[in-house]
């Protein structure tokens, strides 16, 4: 297991360098004229050129990348061109928001999906059909519509939760919970729809296995069969899907962050990418790659623990 983890981490490090290089190249291709964006359309060309030179944009791209890399490996991610803030501080400040959202959605999805999936897979019949219909509805509903309805109903009309903003857990645990409830709910709808179907399908498959029939024949109660044997073997596909969703949420909850005014990584990515703020974008790319590598490693490790057959593969 340790060798497996070490190999994956080493591969992740190589991936980080390759992606950072490709990303920097791609970001440098468009004619963004950062200096003029900073100084405004009415600025003198001399001032624009001076600004671009002060940002190092008059150097060859490879030189710029090498300079960035040399600082990045020492932990210096630079300063935002558009806010003058230290990039590391800026990204770190938004991580708790995204982490809250991502972990919250994953937790809710895991609990609700497994409950629904197991219930549907074990009971079958009407329960199964009900869960499948819920799944279709959850998938079919556009995410932005779900989010808008949730905020209008529960925040604007009923005033049960705030419509916008984020309160840090360290500032107020109750406030934090209050501000992430609706965003988590918005994202969890589609998430639960997908994962519950995975769980349901896997449970049905496992219940058909000979060893399950044998366990029943030996007189074990259904609950024990399900929670001790079936769930363990049915979890792998669901874990894979959860892992992919988690990765997607790391940088992808943009719409929810925008509607709820959450200062997370998703909205930061959109705002700073539009402006061409390369130091910030590169930090976000690195953060995402690291997140993807770690999450995949965690998922693979958990699948290996749940299913020893998978370890050898």
């Amino acid at each position: 297991m340790l060798k497996f983890i070490a190999r994956r981490i080493a591969a992740g490090a190589v991936l980080l360098v390759v992606i950072s290089f490709l990303s920097y190249l791609l970001l440098s291709v468009p004619d963004a004229d950062v200096g003029r964006q900073l100084l405004g359309q009415g600025a003198d060309q001399a001032a624009v050129d001076a600004k671009n030179a002060s940002l190092g944009l008059d150097r060859p791209v490879l030189t710029q990348y090498a300079d960035w890399l040399a600082h990045a490996v020492r932990g210096d991610l630079g300063t935002s061109w558009f806010t003058s803030e230290d990039v590391g501080t800026a990204v770190a400040g938004r991580l708790p928001v995204t982490a809250s959202l991502t972990l919250g959605v994953t937790l809710v999805t895991t609990v609700v999906s497994f409950l629904l999936g197991v219930w549907a897979g074990v009971r079958r019949g009407a329960a199964d059909r009900f869960v499948q219909v819920l799944g279709v509805i959850g998938y079919a509903l556009p995410g932005f519509l779900v989010t808008l309805v949730i905020v209008l109903v529960f925040a604007v009309n009923l005033n049960w939760f705030p419509a916008i903003g984020y309160t840090a857990f360290t500032e107020s645990p109750g406030g934090w919970l209050s501000t992430i409830t609706l965003p988590v709910l918005s994202l969890a709808v589609a998430s639960v729809a997908g994962v519950s179907q995975q769980v349901r399908g896997a449970v049905v498959d496992v219940l058909r296995q000979d060893y399950v029939r044998t366990l029943r024949a030996r007189g074990l109660p259904t609950s024990r069969i399900v929670f001790r044997h079936v769930l363990r073997n049915a979890s792998a596909p669901a874990l894979s899907v959860l892992g992919m969703q988690f990765v997607g949420l790391l940088g992808g909850a943009v719409l929810v962050e925008q509607i709820f005014g959450l200062p997370g990584i998703g909205s930061m990515t959109v705002t700073y990418t539009t402006r061409g703020d390369i130091p910030v974008i590169m930090a976000l790319v690195m953060f995402t790659v690291i997140g993807v590598v770690l999450i995949n490693l965690l998922v693979d490790t958990m699948i290996g623990w749940l299913n020893p057959k998978a370890r050898a593969a």
Binding site: D31, D33, Q37, L39, Q41, S84, I164
Partner: protein
């Protein structure tokens, strides 16, 4: 653990969670007088006054004072400067300064601080640094008197001193490179609370207890950035945001339906086609004023205003705004929608079959409806409008650096200063990138620059009329923006700014 205990623990955890969420409550409406929450769609590049610009000014007004204060109606009143006088030819502006003001570390605000600030602003590389291009030297006469010596008369100098160029920071911080970017140090009514501020998201200010001037109504001020108006509107409705400016017409209509909300309209930006290529270098047809007049006559401003802006605004044919001396209400309707006349003008100019006009299109400014409307209107007179879709970043490069287009549809703020309008749109510069001019413009500009009050006003009106008649630009309409409050705040619009000054908010009676 038994099943009953497990179930009970789960139920208890759920109940506690819901209770915590409920206790924290939804957005609490701030009590008038203690907390003011403002939402904004833009934020400053840094908190160094050298980088202050436009709609980000309130961020700076919170912690810095200006030399001159611009009142909501555009009149100037004393602030850090208690008085000012020009010499006869308006090339020297003498300021008398307050003598009872200090920065937080005890550094005195004095003439030396003014000199240091103005030099810092001029060399600071900010977007508005060009405002001080005419500033030759700053002479310190004594601690409370300073003379700004200008290369030539600049009628907008007081405007600049009431705006970004007049913000006064602690000069002791200039030596510490970049320290003001995230840690402002001024004499203003508030102090930035860095521990609760997240640059790029939320700026939190608390009252400066040592402020020399009149206390503003609110103890605490928060300015929050949002990248969409939907979140702002929801924040207003739930009381999490007390005040904001809405530009989008649909959002304005939506919020006006809420009886709790107070709204005030203001026209500030105009939307129109800024023609750069009046010399015909890229599009030869544009050299002839009859062609430019034809473009103006082709535009159905009324229909555009109705369908695109839901009538939120006023059609106009002029670029001088109502706050300027050059503004003439009659020029708003100088060009009617008359495709037949437009065609005959094109024919007389030697373009009976029209011509092709290629323009850059940035989706954030020219949405699908506007793009289609303009293409249709121009097509009706034989002008084939070709849109070149660009993203925001490359547009700036291609339009202003490469000068690849004959014009651009833009939203432009209408300053209350005639000289600012002249410098921005008429004299050679970014928006007159090919340096077009004519004998009338050359004659009138000096009169605006150095003329007495009545002379300057007459010249400004004459220049405005000339620009309209010659079709220098193709303005569509002035856009109405909506100042919105959740009912707890009175907002007074600010002349010359899209957003209110920080001084223009007060608890609603």
């Amino acid at each position: 653990m038994s099943r009953t205990t497990r179930t009970g623990a789960l139920a208890a955890a759920l109940a506690i969670s819901l209770a915590l969420a409920g206790c924290a409550g939804p957005g609490t409406r701030s009590s008038g007088g203690s907390q003011l929450d403002i939402a904004t769609l833009s934020f400053p590049q840094s908190l160094d006054p050298a980088h202050a610009v436009g709609s980000a000014l309130p961020f700076f007004q919170a912690t810095y004072d200006t030399l001159v204060k611009r009142e909501p109606d555009g009149e100037f009143s004393p602030m850090l400067a208690t008085g000012w006088t020009y010499n006869d030819d308006a090339t020297e502006l003498t300021l008398t300064l307050r003598e009872d003001v200090e920065f937080a570390d005890g550094t005195a605000f004095d003439a030396a601080a003014v000199k240091a600030n103005m030099e810092h602003f001029k060399k600071g590389g900010g977007a508005d640094a060009k405002w001080l291009n005419d500033l030759e030297t700053v002479e310190v006469v004594d601690p409370t008197h300073v003379i700004l010596r200008l290369k030539q008369a600049n009628p907008a100098m007081l405007f600049y001193l009431s705006d970004a160029a007049g913000l006064m920071a602690n000069p002791a911080k200039f030596a510490k490179a970049d320290s003001l970017r995230t840690t402002p140090d001024g004499t203003g009514p508030y102090r930035l609370v860095k521990a609760r501020t997240t640059i790029g998201t939320k700026w939190v200010y608390e009252r400066n207890k040592d402020y020399w001037g009149e206390k503003l109504p609110y103890e605490n001020l928060t300015i929050s950035f949002f990248d969409n108006e939907t979140a702002i509107v929801n924040g207003i409705r739930t009381g999490q945001v007390n005040a904001a400016l809405l530009q989008n017409a649909d959002q304005q209509i939506s919020i006006e339906a809420d009886p709790r909300v107070k709204t005030t309209e203001q026209e500030f930006d105009f939307q129109g086609l800024l023609l750069f290529d009046r010399a015909g270098r890229l599009t030869p047809a544009l050299k002839d004023p009859r062609v430019r007049q034809a473009l103006n006559l082709a535009i159905d401003r009324g229909t555009m205003l109705s369908t695109i802006r839901q009538k939120r605004g006023k059609a106009t044919s002029q670029v001088f705004g109502p706050g300027t001396q050059g503004y003439d209400p009659e020029l708003d309707t100088y060009y009617s929608h008359d495709p037949a006349r437009a065609k005959s003008l094109l024919k007389a100019a030697g373009h009976p079959k029209g011509f092709t006009l290629k323009l850059p299109r940035i989706a954030a400014i020219v949405n699908d409806a506007l793009a289609a409307s303009l293409a249709t209107d121009f097509k009706a007179i034989g002008v084939d409008l070709v849109w070149d879709d660009l993203d925001g970043g490359s547009a700036v490069q291609k339009v202003f650096t490469d000068r690849a287009y004959s014009g651009m549809v833009m939203n432009m703020g209408q300053s209350s200063s005639d000289w600012v309008v002249v410098n921005e749109l008429v004299t050679p510069g970014a928006f007159n990138m090919f340096g077009t001019t004519d004998a009338t413009v050359r004659k009138l500009i000096p009169q605006i620059q150095t003329g007495t009050g009545a002379e300057a006003e007459q010249a400004a009106k004459a220049l405005n009329a000339h620009l309209v008649q010659e079709g220098w630009f193709v303005p569509f309409y002035r856009m109405s923006y909506l100042h919105v409050s959740d009912g707890t705040v009175e907002i007074t619009p600010q002349s010359g700014m899209a957003v209110p000054s920080i001084y223009n908010y007060a608890p609603a009676s």
